[in-house]
């Protein structure tokens, strides 16, 4: 228990943040407080170097060959908005999975509110071949991109992104991956996975602060910016600079967020992404095993397994709304998220649109004792 809370809401935001992250945020404000990319005095250049260092770390972490193509944005949602609205600005369609978050579905809806510009592929748990067939069937002459999550933020179901990326490449489509639940938890290799645009939150599996995310561009397709403004470059021109990252980074960047994110990436590298994933999967497997033996508990997937799952699970107690269960857990000091998790499509797929689910997500800091406490409380509640 940390600070009086047993925290299982890590799929929303990881907590606690590592000491190195908190220290880096503090250093950004105390030592690197000048505006990066605008001036030439020592503190401004030092801040710019620290920001660039984070670009290098992220590029290396996701195997992107050019650090300049790492764009800092406010969130994974912002990254998805830039790519989706940019790729479909002049028409065309996208293929999505049947479990997408609203961060994908709402921008797609906004592109053409009266007429859907997307086709929905079915994900079959652990069956790459059928999943690929479904994606393939959705591709039309007007399709410009495949936009899909790497892992469901509700049920942990993992998509075969490498195979889907290869499919996209064969058809000349842009491959856009929403890595909200996977960045820092599942290995991602942009080149081997054929990913053109990787949208990443900083505050989840990469242990950075809120308010920072990244768009990693592995393609030279031209995407127009969502925002125009000051970049510290080509200032005499009214035209937005076209080079990356400036094209998408109008306004002062979030230096505390970026430095915190760099420390978070280093934390994940030190711990080892596979070690973190294995540890979280052991915890989820343990929780699942305990829950499946309890009366009145509903689980929605087979026991989580790395071949098809990320370490996130959802459950319900028969006859009780998910929000009621989360509230009862909260009174016992346990933090979880209930409801629809901004992913109504995933809930529709699993038949939980009316009740929502209670979501449990561990982090690198979660202990087996905390998992045991959670299970004990649920068992008493489920009767």
């Amino acid at each position: 228990m940390k600070g009086g809370t047993v925290y299982f809401d890590n799929a929303a935001t990881t907590w606690p943040k590592p000491y190195s992250v908190r220290k880096a945020v503090n250093r950004a404000l105390t030592e690197y407080g000048a505006n990066p990319g605008r001036s030439g005095y020592p503190m401004a250049l030092a801040a710019s170097r620290q920001v660039y260092r984070c670009r290098e770390l992220a590029a290396e972490f996701f195997n992107l060959n050019n650090p300049s193509n790492v764009v800092f944005v406010q969130s994974c949602t912002m990254a998805l908005n830039i790519v989706i609205k940019g790729l479909l600005k002049n028409g065309g369609r996208a293929v999505v999975s049947d479990m997408e978050h609203n961060a994908v579905m709402r921008p797609l809806h906004a592109v053409s509110p009266g007429y859907p510009v997307y086709d929905v592929a079915t994900v079959f748990l652990g069956d790459t071949e059928r999943t690929l067939e479904s994606f393939g069937r959705c591709i039309r002459p007007a399709t410009r991109a495949i936009v899909c999550l790497h892992a469901s933020n509700v049920f942990g179901v993992r998509l075969p992104v490498r195979e889907i990326g290869m499919l996209a490449r064969r058809h000349g489509l842009a491959m856009v991956v929403d890595a909200a639940q996977s960045a820092g938890v599942l290995p991602i290799d942009m080149q081997a996975d054929c990913i053109d645009y990787l949208c990443v939150p900083g505050h989840k599996g990469l242990y950075g602060p809120m308010g920072i995310g990244m768009l990693l561009c592995g393609s030279d397709r031209f995407i127009p910016p969502l925002l125009e403004g000051g970049t510290g470059s080509f200032s005499a021109s009214l035209r937005q600079p076209q080079d990356l990252p400036d094209r998408f980074e109008s306004g002062t960047v979030n230096t505390p967020g970026i430095l915190g994110l760099a420390a978070g990436i280093e934390f994940v590298k030190r711990q080892g992404i596979n070690e973190i994933a294995n540890r979280e999967m052991r915890l989820i497997s343990y929780i699942y095993s305990r829950l499946e033996r309890m009366k009145n508990i509903r689980l929605y997937t087979p026991k989580p397994d790395f071949s098809w799952s990320a370490p996130v699970l959802s459950f319900n107690i028969e006859g009780r709304h998910s929000e009621e269960v989360a509230d009862a857990l909260s009174k016992k000091g346990i933090a979880v998220r209930a409801g629809l998790h901004c992913a109504p499509n995933a809930h529709r797929k699993f038949g939980t649109l009316d009740t929502g689910t209670v979501r449990v997500a561990p982090s690198a800091h979660t202990t087996m004792a905390e998992a045991g406490y959670l299970c004990g409380v649920i068992e008493r509640m489920a009767g």
Binding site: G40, R49, N66, P67, A236
Partner: protein, 76 residues
Amino acid sequence: MGSMCFYVSSVTNAIRGKELLDKNGIRAHISRLADENIKNGCGYCIFVSSDYERAESLLRSCGIRIRGARKMNDLK
């Protein structure tokens, strides 16, 4: 001692270029652009004091757009 100043558009390109040159044994430093001949304003310079041609070739080979170059008499 003379030096060559390469003008680039952004601080990101300047830092990337400096690191590339450093890794290839060419000492470089960066500063804010201060040249009225460069149109459109605002940018950064990469200064090198030797191997000018190789430096330029390295910068171009990794996709760093050079907006201009100027021989300087004194390394700042």
